[in-house]
């Protein structure tokens, strides 16, 4: 068909523009929706891309690597950062990591293959009363009178508090039988006569009094604190090398071939740290980082109140000479503070130091860390300590392992993220001990049994029964398999002084050739993830290893799906906005078409084909879409680059993790703009399709009808 396409297009474009200009209100409404929609797409997808990139940095470079391999028959999906069930997951096992490493390391683009095994162990710390009694017993046994007197004083103080606690509980308890019994024991221990034997020479009388305190009084003084410690067993030197976010904060790395524990600083700060210090940290973070005000925030006010009430937990921990020094320092700071009933002067001063509001927080926080913190134990461990980790093996036996704390670590940029505290690190041998891996001697014995019985394969778990079932030394069998049942906290605490770390060195071969639960694959820069995943899966399949290979998103647990969920929500929001836009554009174009029946009929009468009419109507929305889309994309890009230069603060720890740092600096990619423009143009076309069809049906005789 003849025609001057270019000149036609030009006049059509002009008609479209002018028609838009002459229907200002309609154009403005439809245009605004389009501008908003495009800007939303640009901002939304840019932010999401940035978050995903941030998340990838957080996850890949801290724990997961790019890919994870684990048992193809695992019952649960790997969740490195925690899944729905914390700790109870069954990831199956990888019986021989060495072979996996050889197969995968041979693939192109593989930087490192890091062995891993997740587990949960229990770590406990007795109550203050337990510890005071422990110290008293040692002083008595050693005949150290000065310490003995100091400890007697402390125990008596603690008994006062215990009694007050019990009395309070009694007032709100229905059945007071147990409480009354405990109260009677405590009151007996508070009588002066009870302490008389300690000043005499009769050691047995002292021991009897101590036993009474241990067995009858201490249980009334509250349970010790138990900590659950999620640990990742790995090749620690390799881990430190390939996960470049890993950084030692305090102490030193665990040397090659040694057993050791590295405690996650974030975990220590949020779970292990002294309660009053944690409260002050929270308040300080909220005020300095999130510009919150204590007075305006009920939760912060409650924390401030709680911090103030915890002075006793601090004064009780102080050694006598520290108490004196601190009292002097506090007196200089708070000259006018006087104790209330039942308070010692030191109590009153510490309480004053812990009394914070929006005006005093910064100064008192600094004072706390300068004067009080150095004199008390902020954490239940110190670098160099030997901790007892207890865990259930796969078959439900409890095993305990003594391991030395070499230091604390953090993931750079994620210091404030709770999720980065997901796991502590131990060497692979300690992991295997807690997991229930057999020693070489045990394995040799198993082989002998197999030979004898003539079995092809004895299930490793059955073998574990055979070996560990009757072995009371290192394994405690629990009848019901309940998690960390009631064990004697006081006893464990007393053992602490005599704990000896398992410090047998191991060779690289011993470490590599053994069971792990999963393995991280770190790829070299620029290697295509999907391609590598497919190649590695093919390689392990070919080698007959029954493993599945998943990417970091799938391996990280719930958090990995987070971006997908947000993307879904964003898509839904964009979808809804565009459906609304579709309906509005459709309606207004339909109305415009009906208003223009005579004009369209005229065009048809003077020789315009249907195609021309179609193009005319479509072009009108397309031009509007293009203009609005450009404006919207420009606005969106401007908004994103503004956010990029200012940075979006990560207001909570999940955001720190998602942003891979304290602030997200989003950037607009060409793809974000392109996607937005394409989307808006497609929406324009779809929404105008029906009105345009109607327009093409207008008959040329319509031109003849009189208005």
């Amino acid at each position: 068909m003849a025609g001057s396409p270019l000149a036609q297009a030009r006049v059509l474009a002009q008609m479209a523009l002018r028609s838009l200009a002459s229907h200002k209100v309609k154009s403005l409404i439809v245009g605004s929706i389009m501008v908003f929609g495009t800007a939303l797409v640009v901002v939304g997808t840019s932010l999401l891309d940035s978050v995903e990139a941030g998340m990838e940095r957080s996850i890949v470079k801290s724990l997961s690597g790019h890919l994870q391999l684990y048992d193809a028959e695992a019952k649960d999906d790997l969740a490195l950062f925690g899944g729905a069930t914390m700790g109870g997951d069954d990831y199956g096992e990888v019986p021989d990591f060495g072979e996996v490493q050889r197969v995968v390391q041979a693939q192109d683009g593989v930087e490192a293959v890091v062995p891993m095994g997740l587990g949960i162990a229990n770590m406990s710390r007795g109550s203050e009363l337990d510890r005071a009694l422990d110290a008293l017993r040692r002083a008595v046994e050693a005949g150290d009178a000065a310490t003995r007197e100091a400890m007697i004083h402390r125990v008596q103080r603690l008994l006062e508090l215990t009694r007050a606690d019990l009395t309070n509980s009694r007032a709100i308890t229905a059945d007071t039988t147990d409480l009354d019994a405990n109260l009677a024991h405590v009151e007996r221990a508070q009588q002066a006569a009870f302490w008389a034997p300690f000043r005499g020479d009769d050691l047995d009388a002292k021991r009897a009094a101590l036993d009474f305190l241990d067995t009858q009084v201490a249980p009334a003084g509250g349970d010790g604190v138990q900590y659950y410690l999620r640990y990742l067993g790995t090749d620690l030197p390799l881990f430190a090398r390939v996960f470049d976010r890993f950084r030692i904060v305090e102490g030193e790395p665990v040397p090659e071939g040694r057993r050791g524990l590295l405690i996650n600083k974030r975990f220590a700060d949020s779970q292990l740290k002294l309660k009053v210090a944690r409260l002050l940290d929270d308040l300080h973070d909220a005020v300095t980082l999130n510009d919150a005000r204590i007075a305006d925030d009920a939760a912060l006010t409650a924390k401030a109140r709680q911090a103030r009430s915890l002075y006793g937990s601090l004064t009780l921990m102080l050694a006598p000479e520290d108490a004196a020094a601190l009292e002097a320092a506090l007196r200089a700071e708070f000259p006018d503070v006087a104790p209330t009933d039942g308070q010692s002067p030191l109590d009153a001063l510490v309480q004053a130091a812990l009394t914070v509001d929006d005006d005093t927080l910064k100064a008192r926080y600094a004072f706390f860390y300068a004067q009080i913190a150095p004199r008390v134990a902020l954490y239940p461990f110190r670098v160099g300590d030997v901790l007892t980790l207890r865990a259930f093996t796969k078959r439900g036996y409890m095993k305990s392992v003594n391991v030395k704390v070499y230091g604390t670590f953090e993931f750079a940029g994620l210091e404030r993220s709770e999720l980065s505290g997901a796991a502590n690190l131990v060497d692979l041998m300690t992991f295997r001990d807690l997991y229930g891996q057999m020693t070489e001697a045990q394995q040799a014995e198993l082989k002998a049994i197999q030979a004898e019985v003539g079995l092809e394969r004895v299930d490793r778990a059955d073998a574990e029964d055979a070996f560990f079932g009757g072995d009371g030394d290192s394994v405690e069998k629990t009848a019901d398999g309940s998690v960390f049942g009631d064990f004697d906290v006081a006893r464990i605490e007393r053992e602490a002084g005599t704990r000896v770390a398992d410090d047998r060195p191991f060779t690289r071969e011993q470490m590599v050739d053994g069971v792990v639960l999963n393995a991280a694959v770190v790829l070299k820069d620029g290697v295509d993830l999907d391609d590598a995943q497919a190649r590695i899966q093919a390689a392990v399949d070919a080698a007959g290893l029954r493993l599945k290979v998943v990417d970091w998103r799938a391996a990280s647990g719930v958090i990995g799906q987070f971006v997908m969920v947000i993307r879904g929500v964003l898509l839904l929001a964009i979808g809804i906005i565009f459906i609304v836009a579709l309906v509005i554009i459709n309606n207004s174009m339909l109305m415009a078409t009906l208003e223009r029946v005579r004009e369209i009929g005229t065009l048809r009468a003077i020789g315009a084909q249907r195609r021309f009419v179609m193009a005319m109507v479509m072009l009108e929305t397309l031009v509007l879409g293009l203009l609005s889309g450009t404006v919207g994309a420009g606005l969106g890009a401007a908004l994103v680059s503004w956010m990029g230069s200012v940075g979006i603060p990560a207001k909570n720890d999940i955001l720190v993790f998602l942003f891979s740092g304290p602030r997200l600096h989003p950037a607009v990619g060409a793809s974000n703009l392109l996607v937005a423009l394409v989307v808006i143009l497609v929406v324009s076309l779809i929404s105008t399709w029906y009105p345009a069809r109607i327009a093409t049906r207008v008959q040329p005789v319509e031109a003849m009808r009189e208005a």
Binding site: M1, A2, G3, S4, P5, A7, Q8, V11, Q14, M15, R18, S19, A21, S22, R598, E599, T602, L603, R604, A605, I606, G607, A608, Q609, F612, Q699, P700, V701, A703, M704, E706, A707
Partner: protein
Amino acid sequence: MSAPIAADPIVELVGVSKDYPLGKLTVQALRGVDLRIERGAFIAIAGPSGSGKTTLLNLVGCVDVPTAGAVRIEGQSTSELSEKQLTTLRLHKLGFIFQSFNLVGVLDVFQNVELPLLLQGGLTGAERKRRVAEMVDKVGLTPQTRQRPNELSGGQRQRVAIARALVTRPAIVMADEPTANLDSTTGGAIIELMKDINREDHTTFIFSTHDANVMSHARRLVELVDGRIAADHPVAEAD
């Protein structure tokens, strides 16, 4: 192709009927019309309201086809053409002048006149512009070239419509009551303009009217009554 005979009609209607369905009834707008129109004619269709004038022009203008009989434009029966072909025919052979002018409101005078040429294509930009300018000049609107229809008077608008109808140099120009929306002086001037063009270019003009003054300008007058031709006679030159 046979040699042109002087009497060869440019438009020929043979036994043309047009029925419109109207609910359960059928309106017989035209009932067996036979009409031959020679090239270069200047012919008025008259008749009372509802007599079928517009229907007749629509059939000749190829915006509609007859229910029975045949309408032939330069020998080609319109009933045998597809919608697309009819459109092409209108574009190349016919020009339209409407009672309400029917200009494209968002385009200026020049662009309105240019539109049919753009639809036709085939001309260079310069040639097209020259033709449009010439046509605009012919209807006396050069000073208004860049104005939009709503800035023009009724007579000026109808001049634009005439220019638009004639810019493609059509064989036949259809005009359904071209002066009905104009005062008598302006209407007279419009008919004079059409008549001048008819004399100069031998373009065939077929127009309908109620106005006796306008009829007097025609060289031939066809009177319709109730869908039938009641009279068909030449008109003496008025001036």
